[in-house]
């Protein structure tokens, strides 16, 4: 188990009803975190439509996640 701080944004935050939480998770990658928190963000968007960051650095969905990391889950962006 790793202690991971998970942050939800926009639609994900509204669905989760919270902006962030500290969770003990059995995960290796950012994709694992997305899957493990599905009951929170409620998303069935393809992963390729969403983005992820680890400790304030943009990451990929196969990026490793370590104990103490902060994982930011971004729904599909829509700037401009």
């Amino acid at each position: 188990m790793k202690n991971i701080r998970v942050c939800y944004f926009a639609m994900f935050r509204e669905h989760a009803g919270l902006a962030e939480e500290l969770l003990p998770l059995d995960v290796d990658t950012t994709a694992d975190v997305f899957a493990a928190t599905r009951h929170r963000h409620g998303s069935s968007e393809p992963l390729g439509h969403c983005k992820v960051a680890v400790n304030d650095v943009m990451a990929d969905w196969d990026s490793p996640v370590n104990d103490g990391d902060t994982v930011l889950l971004f729904p599909p962006v829509a700037g401009g």
């Binding site: 599905r38 069935s44 930011l72 829509a78």
Partner: protein, 156 residues
């Protein structure tokens, strides 16, 4: 310069920040809030950004634009918060020695920021409903995309 702000954008003031004696051309793009989208009447928009990464990703985009289309100065500003119809949601400005680089760099910056910046847009409709743009499947409780990822995980 990249800025994320909850204050109104003033393109005239921003334009002056790009003045340079070596620049012979200036191009700008303003994104405005329009009153409709995909057949629905829009009353206002609400933008949310994750500022630390919006700024770092924005600075990367500007550096990439400068590598491809060398300019003298470039900047963009993106709004957050509630915006009314006609308000400026994003401003991009590029000053370059010649017009070609100014046009191309400006186009590159707006195109990239729309797909890369951690910014989200919620439409508030005239009928009282609201919805996040590009997020049609964000809150369905069932789907296949992640269950297949979870299956891949459990098999290794």
């Amino acid at each position: 310069m990249v800025r994320i702000t909850a204050e109104p954008i003033d393109p005239q003031l921003l334009r002056e920040t790009l003045f340079d004696a070596t620049a012979g051309g200036y191009t700008s793009f303003e994104g405005w809030v329009r009153n409709h989208n995909e057949g629905r009447d829009v009353e206002r928009l609400e933008y949310e950004a994750y500022e630390p990464l919006a700024i770092s990703e924005g600075e990367k985009i500007i550096a990439e634009a400068n590598n491809r289309f060398p300019f003298v100065k470039a900047a963009f500003v993106h709004r957050t918060g509630l915006l009314e119809i006609g308000e400026c949601a994003v401003w991009v400005g590029v000053a370059a020695r010649h017009r070609d680089e100014a046009f191309k760099a400006c186009r590159y910056i707006i195109d990239e920021l729309k797909v890369r910046l951690p910014v989200w847009k919620k439409e508030h409709y005239v009928d009282g409903d609201s919805g996040w743009v590009n997020c049609e499947r964000c809150s369905r409780s069932s789907g296949v995309s992640m269950s297949s990822a979870a299956a891949a995980k459990s098999s290794d």
